[in-house]
Amino acid sequence: MVSPVPLDRRAAVAALLAGRGDLLVVAGLGSPAYDLHAAGDHDANFYLWGAMGGAALMGLGLAQARPERPVLVLTGDGEALMGLGGLATIAIAAPGNLTIAVIDNGHFGETGMQRSHTGRGLDLAAVAAACGFAEAGTVTDMAGVEALRARLRGPAEGPRLCVLKVEACNLPRSLPARDAVYLKNRFRAALGLGVN
């Protein structure tokens, strides 16, 4: 069997965000944040530059605070692996408006491209399914990305996790603002929330 050609991560993320509407997005540190920024900066984007392992949980808190809005978390395989327990917490919390897209290149790309657990065979979608995610799958082509995009904004029985298998490469960085207070206030203002 011929292995599928890995996705271009930037094209995949741009496709996921096309016509994003009222989507709220949190991106984990490293390449997922650059991918999100490259797809177009937006007031309803929050980029993490640290707090590794926190993006999906931040998405959970956001999804619970805003149940009427769809929430997308973009995270890498490295960050998802660091917060594996968080998948259990999210599954039990069972928000129907949270989708976690794991941009999986099978490597720790930010730190010298060492092969990660997923690159050595660990299946994050299977982990999510075992935790009790309502939907858990792996996508290897743009048709799969499009299908995920179509489902993103609709309600689900519980959280979704989709692994996007992408090519392991270091793309030029597309750097969002690093000032978290600015990002927070901008995001909250987009939701009509005030600054203390």
């Binding site: 949980l57 998405g59 808190g61 956001l62 999804a63 619970q64 917490t89 927070k184």
Partner: protein
Amino acid sequence: MASDKNEAEWPDRLRRVLKDAGVTRVSHVPDAGHARLIGLCENDPDMVTNVLTTEEEGIAIAAGAWLGGAASVLLLQSSGVGNCINMLSLPAIGRFPLLMLVTMRGEWAEFNPWQMPMGQATQATLEAMGVTVQRADTAEDLIATVESAAALAFKADQQVAVLISQRLLGRKTW
């Protein structure tokens, strides 16, 4: 005695204080000291509770909740403070309100030596990460201290931990 009753009912009063401060989200790990408060919050239709696999998850949930307009509290034990260290950089750098209620081990009449290192390091660890630490040794103290801490967190965008003395929680029987 009335004072004994107050001592026993501090979790009930604490829930009231939290609600008055606008808290609608509660993250927790299993904890004997917080057991009654956790149960009260789980049965409160206005509260959303999350059970965590590790305390640091609650720090990120609190930041996400605030991003969406919700105030939250994290219930944990002193040993769990050690699990939070790097994640505390998120509320510190984003000035996200953070309210932690920490039941203490490793101090008053502790029977388990394994609780001593983290219990003794709890306050220094929190302060090293920029968290303001307030401490309560009696039930009366605790109510006033949590009122203060909630104001600091949700009105002044601070990261605050209230340490609930092991003396207040009572000697653990084994």
